[in-house]
């Protein structure tokens, strides 16, 4: 049997302290950490954004609604967070402006945590993006959203197994009804305050020739950028001829991991 937590029982539990969350709207002063909100279009990213910041970004039920970044803030457990809602994208590999906005922010904006909002009813398609984000950063939380719809369709999603497979926290939520948001906040807080891992996920087991090319370029990249956490991903992008990344290598702009305490954004991505 699948046991769902009873919200009422949770609220009564002493460890559950709703007062820990304060929605700060657009008050972006003195933030301690920056959290990016990524995900496929139409997975409820903006709903999560609104629930955490108390803002009212219009949420439309169609893909392509958010094409620029929206920013808001919240305070949780005494720490101030800036939340950046990125355009919904299916991948980070192609060339449209909205995908570039999302990719550039995750890579160059150096968020302390990247939350990937995922549609539980369309897990396979959504995981494409998750895998690509995890190749860039391991400071990530997967928000397995729309669990209410998954249940309605009779789907059971084993979030524990998914978390083990992906190597990051996976939090089931139904953001429209507020379900699972306390756990999401906890996970964000944990990743933000936790030690930096240096192990991004490998996208694939490359064929031999590609492997040799990747190994060669990774060695070169690590010599140039000693602390680069995602050298393998950068190498793959170079092999794919990604102009933006070529330019970043040329100018020496590849970001190294943020210091334990959040630093201001290094690069504002122009809308």
């Amino acid at each position: 049997m699948n046991h769902r937590p009873d919200p009422a029982a949770c609220a009564a539990c002493p460890t559950h302290d709703r007062a820990q969350l304060a929605r700060l709207g657009v008050d972006l002063a003195d933030v301690d950490y920056v959290v990016a909100l990524a995900g496929n279009p139409n997975t409820g990213k903006s709903t999560v954004f609104n629930a955490l910041t108390g803002l009212r970004q219009h949420t439309g039920n169609w893909p392509g609604k958010t094409v620029a970044r929206a920013e808001g803030a919240f305070r949780y457990a005494g720490r101030r967070y800036k939340l950046v809602d990125l355009p919904g994208t299916y991948s980070l590999l192609s060339t449209s402006v909205d995908e570039e906005v999302a990719r550039d922010f995750i890579l160059f904006g150096r968020p302390d945590v990247t939350v990937i909002v995922v549609d539980a009813t369309r897990l396979e398609r959504n995981l494409n993006l998750v895998l690509q984000v995890l190749a860039i950063t391991d400071r990530a939380v997967v928000c397995l959203n729309l669990m209410d719809e998954a249940r309605r369709h009779g789907l059971a999603v084993d979030h524990r197994r998914l978390a083990r497979d992906l190597g990051v926290r996976v939090v089931p939520t139904a953001a429209r009804g507020g379900e699972g948001l306390p756990a999401l906040l906890e996970a964000i807080d944990e990743v933000a305050t936790g030690a930096t891992g240096r192990h991004t996920r490998h996208i694939w087991r490359e064929p031999p020739r590609v492997r040799r090319a990747v190994a060669d370029l990774v060695a070169g990249l690590e010599a140039l950028f000693p602390d680069l956490p995602n050298a393998r991903w950068v190498a793959l992008r170079l092999l794919d001829g990604d102009e933006r990344i070529v330019e970043a290598v040329r100018r020496g702009e590849l970001p190294v991991p943020a210091a334990p305490v959040a630093v201001p954004l290094a690069l504002e991505v122009a809308p």
Binding site: P41, H58, W62, V97, D98, T121, L127, V130, L224, A235
Partner: protein, 481 residues
């Protein structure tokens, strides 16, 4: 950030380039396939699907109907007609009530007040007859239809209907040589063209994105819906028996909107064969699940975000416009007020286009915001005709509802042709200055911004000219035995 010595970086890039040659084509596809395969494997491990025969899927059943080739378009038209019918027939009562409050009661009250505190006639004219009345006009004419239309439209959007409309239109866009996602930016344009232009960012190819930007203006925006709804209600509705009036007006508005969509296709087709030749790219459009809209929340948000936003914008532009109109109406050059000269200069052009000088002048005044076209037209008409029972002084607008409004426009020489051509011209003219600024920001090109301004204007002039001349020829032919 670490800064690498430039030469090392260049060497690395050169090596990457070499490897690219060795690995050869198909790397990108291999990479994508690997990601897809891994995603499929992980999803398969995590998800347990329900056993047994697939249940009846309501979403799919609805989709099959609303995106079917036979019923899709008919259903679309029916739905939008219904929305406009509700808007037009629902807006009358609150409109009358607001105009009674703001204009019949509010205006004389403010006049007395300004006389009591001893304002000079000039100042009281500028503030009360100019700025206040223009604003009161905007509020009473625009607030009720917007307060009904936007929540209805937002409900459709939240339900998930808009992507289905995009799906229906995709094939047509493809045939026009444009990107199917243009349907989405067009949908956004029905709210606001500036937002629609920004929404074209979802289109990857610069060529197709430019087509989408240049044609976005053919989607009727917030600022123009009220014009369409009002004029259709006054003139189109009046040619039908009373019980059909609302329906016919709604149909006329839908007709103009559909014409806008057809223009979008036609102009996209033309551009993709002349200035912007190239390949059509493919994409996949996801049909999101239908979600029951949270009705109260949607209504409140759309009232706050859309209705209040548009109204605020209109008021902000109406205040200076009201002052400007009052000034041109009261500053005389020789014997005739300035506005008289301007209108007289524009009248011959207006006549050719089946419009009049007042309308053309209103469109010049309304470049910053389409929202103030109607108030400007009405104020100028009062001024030019000097209809006796409508106002105490020239340049002042009083009653506005129903019969008296129609009477006023009749006195201004308006006919059914004027109304039809005004609706056409409202659909096809230069975008407002906000949209033009956005186009400039998104394209970074002055040339394309100029094209975006002149292309629809030229088409509008052409269309109204053609309609006016055809109409007159038919009229002459009918009179000649």
């Amino acid at each position: 950030m670490t800064r690498a010595p430039a030469s090392d970086a260049e060497r690395l890039l050169a090596r990457a380039q070499q490897w690219r040659w060795e690995i050869g084509h198909g790397f990108h596809d291999q990479l994508m396939e690997a990601i897809y395969a891994e995603a499929a494997r992980l999803a398969d491990r995590a998800v347990t699907r329900p056993q047994g025969p697939p249940r009846f899927d309501l979403d799919r059943a609805i989709d099959r109907l609303v995106t079917s080739r036979r019923w899709g378009f008919a259903l679309m038209l029916l739905l939008f007609t219904l929305v406009f019918w509700i808007t037009i027939s629902g807006a009358n009562v609150p409109s009358a009530w607001l105009s009674w409050l703001l204009i019949e009661q509010g205006h004389p009250f403010l006049k007395h007040l300004s006389a009591a505190i001893g304002l000079s006639p000039w100042l009281s004219g500028l503030l009360v007859d100019g700025m206040y009345l223009a604003t009161a006009w905007v509020v009473s004419v625009m607030l009720p239809p917007m307060a009904i239309f936007f929540p209805l439209f937002t409900l459709l959007e939240d339900f998930g209907y808009l992507p289905r409309v995009a799906f229906n239109l995709d094939r047509a866009f493809h045939r026009a040589g444009a990107h199917g996602k243009q349907a989405l930016s067009m949908m956004m344009g029905f709210g606001c063209n500036a937002a629609g232009v920004v929404a074209t960012r979802v289109i990857d190819s610069p060529r197709e994105r430019l087509i989408a930007i240049l044609t976005n203006n053919f989607a009727l925006c917030n600022g123009r819906w009220p014009t369409q709804i009002l004029i259709a209600g006054l003139f189109i509705g009046s040619v039908a028996p009373a019980f059909l009036a609302g329906f016919l007006s709604a149909l006329a508005v839908v007709g103009v909107a559909v014409l806008g969509v057809l223009m979008t296709f036609a102009v996209s087709w033309g551009l993709s064969r002349t200035l912007l030749r190239g390949e059509v790219s493919t994409f996949s459009l996801e049909l999101p699940p239908y979600r029951p809209p949270r009705i109260w929340r949607t209504i409140v948000t759309s009232l706050v975000d859309r209705t209040a936003y548009v109204l605020w914008r209109a008021v902000v532009f109406a205040l200076p416009a009201g002052a400007a109109i009052w000034l041109v109406a009261n500053v005389s050059l020789g014997e005739v007020p300035l506005a008289g000269h301007l209108v007289r200069v524009l009248d011959p052009v207006g006549l050719l286009l089946g419009l009049n000088g007042v309308i053309l002048l209103a469109y010049v005044v309304a470049i910053p915001a389409n929202e103030i076209v109607i108030p400007t037209v009405l104020m100028l008409t009062v001024l030019m005709t000097g209809v006796a029972d409508v106002g105490a002084g020239s340049g002042v607008m009083f009653e506005l509802e129903g019969a008296s409004l129609a009477r006023l426009l009749d006195a201004g020489g308006w006919t059914l042709l004027t109304a039809v051509n005004l609706m056409l011209f409202s659909l096809m003219h230069n975008p407002c200055s906000t949209t033009l600024l956005t186009i400039y920001r998104e394209t970074g090109s002055r040339r394309w911004t100029v094209v975006a301004a002149l292309l629809p204007l030229a088409l509008g002039v052409l269309a109204t000219f053609a309609v006016a001349q055809t109409c007159r020829l038919v009229a002459i032919a009918a009179r000649t035995p």
